[in-house]
Symmetry: C2
Subunit: 432 residues, 2 copies
């Protein structure tokens, strides 16, 4: 029993173009293996040369969104425009027409999933967005249909390929941040304006979507602590390696009895942790469930075809599971207000200081940490003595703490900076 499905694609850039090609080239394969006959009924994009380059037949090029929405053969609208401008208008209009939407748009889903899901529900159509998070890796499907028997206790993800590429280069080639960023921009791995990636906004949107699903409560992105990689130094990466840690930009969500902790920041993890060997532009999400234990999904988090894989898998899912219309967490009505967000979160820390090269300094620094109720795992001098601005000899000191809290660390850093024996140059959180 073959099911006929017509789709329209809005925006044929990298992901939309990959989606078009995947659907056209795999038509017969899906017919045979999934019993769905998927036809691209319409496409909408102002870049007509791009459409020509993709070989899109003239007769399926729509003039405007109205033409797409008026087409009764279009069952599913694929939105691969991005951003929250026209993309939001078009998605809203499609849902109002009762057309199921499949989107790769993380910012849209992060900011407006509630609103859009209400519209979808009212109009008896579906909203699917596997492609919005971690490209081709089926992390949303896994959270919804694969490990849903579990209380998810934590998730840690490398969910941005650009920053992982940069950190990998800094780690294994010792290159500086600015240098690697420039190279990444030349190769097309980083955008001309890299802010969304390197400052952690992209990871933050994805963490909002994924932790909302994992923890069955809306996690607004405004509640997420965010720190990017722009001030990460190659020196700290190297010192960390010597101590057995690898630096990654992690999106971390924890769901404890005390509340929810959500944060994006450069993080040291043990070299033996499965996430530590996720390199280059690869992504991975590491989940801990109360029954299943630790689970990791690994793959390409971006790119035309990997993301198209997620878009098209959603299209097939939508076409073959007509009962399941809302691919999101189910208790969104009441959960928001009851969630307690922890801002003074707990973590171990790597702290690099520059201290006076004098007898007794180590004891003085240690006693400041002790007074701030922070317990130290390791304290070690790294590198050689240097002459500082004021002519004082200075030496780098690296401290690894036991688990403590943000506020205690801030307090200790302020106390040390107020002395004349040391300055804190870097603070990096450590997860096990």
């Amino acid at each position: 029993m073959v099911k006929k499905v017509g789709v329209a694609i809005l925006g044929l850039g990298v992901v939309g173009g990959g989606t078009y090609q995947t659907l056209v080239e795999h038509h017969d394969f899906y017919l045979k293996t999934q019993q769905v006959d998927i036809t691209v009924e319409m496409v909408l994009d102002r870049a007509l040369d791009r459409l020509a380059q993709l070989g899109v037949p003239q007769e399926i090029i729509a003039k405007n969104i109205e033409e797409v929405l008026a087409n009764p053969n279009v069952d599913i609208v694929i939105e691969t425009i991005g951003g929250i401008g026209v993309a939001k208008d078009f998605v809203t209009a499609a849902l109002r027409e009762g057309k199921t939407v499949v989107t790769s748009n993380k910012e849209l889903i992060c900011k407006y999933s509630h609103e859009l899901e209400r519209i979808a529900k009212r109009n008896h159509c579906g909203l699917f967005y596997e492609a919005s998070c971690v490209g081709g890796v089926p992390i949303i499907r896994t959270l919804l249909d694969g490990v849903q028997a579990n209380h998810i206790q934590s998730m840690m993800g490398i969910v941005n390929g650009t920053t992982n590429y940069i950190l990998t280069k800094m780690t294994y080639e010792g290159a500086d941040y600015a240098e690697v960023l420039k190279e990444a921009q030349k190769l097309g791995y980083a955008e001309a304006n890299p802010t969304a990636d390197v400052e952690g906004f992209d990871s933050m949107y994805k963490l909002s979507i994924l932790s909302s699903m994992a923890f069955h409560t809306k996690i607004p992105y405004t509640k997420i602590f965010r720190e990017g990689i722009a001030s990460v130094s190659t020196k700290d990466i190297a010192y960390g390696r010597e101590l057995g840690y690898t630096l990654k930009l992690l999106a971390i969500g924890k769901n404890t009895e005390k509340g929810v902790e959500v944060r994006v920041h450069p993080t040291f993890i043990p070299n033996s942790h499965p996430l530590a060997s996720v390199n280059d532009s690869f992504n991975a999400v590491y989940l801990r469930g109360d029954a299943v234990g630790d689970v990791m999904l690994y793959g390409r988090g971006a790119g035309a075809l990997p993301t198209a894989s997620a878009v098209v898998s959603d299209v097939i899912y939508a076409a073959t599971h007509s009962e399941i219309k809302y691919s999101t967490f189910k208790n969104n009505a009441t959960a928001d207000k009851s969630t307690n967000f922890i801002s003074d979160f707990s973590s171990a820390y790597y702290i690099r200081l520059s201290v006076a090269d004098e007898t007794g300094v180590l004891a003085k620094i240690s006693s400041i940490f002790a007074k701030c109720n922070m317990s130290i795992v390791e304290i070690a001098q790294r590198g050689k003595s240097e002459v500082g601005e004021n002519g004082q000899h200075r030496v780098p000191l690296v401290v690894i703490t036991h688990k403590t809290t943000e506020n205690r660390v801030k307090n200790a850093v302020a106390k040390i900076n107020a002395t004349d024996i040391g300055t804190v140059n870097a603070v990096i959180r450590v997860e096990e």
Copy 2:
């Protein structure tokens, strides 16, 4: 809109017991997050002390299978007995009664999925078996609903925890196979009769199920080449490490234009491959799809709660997706006969020889490989000269070949063994 679902559990051993506990303890959680009210209506197990230990109330203990099947409140039957004796009879009877079955039984599904699915279809009920492969890792859900947009070109899996535990110990502690096996048996990681695990039968069943789904055609286990780990030597593991390879028991499926290749055997993979760092009893499956590229799923492949996670996730899936009744590949009717199975498969090889410690031996060995159309990447003497049975001085020689075929290797091995200058002591396939 809450959905009421009654389940019965047949067999409350490790997995069945974990399933019972998970369902009871998470009842309210599933009600809240999944809108399903799942009640364990009946359990069936002859070990009444085990049931008492689990705290099963007297009134839900069934006397026999007939009582379970006659209970109109039982919508879903969970089979966690194992094997193909009563398990098969009970599953068949349940499906004939129109009750959806969720099972963790790999041997049953590997050998009888076709027959059981026909019965399920005829009786309008479902058959689900995520728990039959790789414990809590949602690999079946991923193949069916996560990467179904792809032609899956290959899969490589570490799908047996016992053998991975043994190989990890041999690799990192240099212990001998027999020694580690004994320890694993003492710790309960290996069974008293370890054949199913160490000889690769368990991996073979799982590969049959997973490759059937991935390649959309029935892969009978009888078509799978199988070699276990019982004759793996610690020496080869150590030599391989020196050359940059880690030894794993891999279940490998390849779907090429020429046909399907399916095999289970000890395999060297580069140390940098994500599967190389999957250690101890952890499992992982590495897929390559034509759109998504490389994807890996990692987690616990066995154990009470991880496997219960898969069983219960299937129960929730079955309860909330009433349209989707057959969790298997869809074109099973005709595919079998058209599939071409390749037995003379291609691979690179690690070959360890013991050769006479004389000038010119290396040249002679090399020329035999050349005559057999095998090209060599690396040939190196390892370890020290030893005196052999006939008083001849012998030295270990390790050869890494380029990609070649099984038959060529067999031919070269026979030719070398026929000379008086060398004997082949180990042949291990190498994958990239």
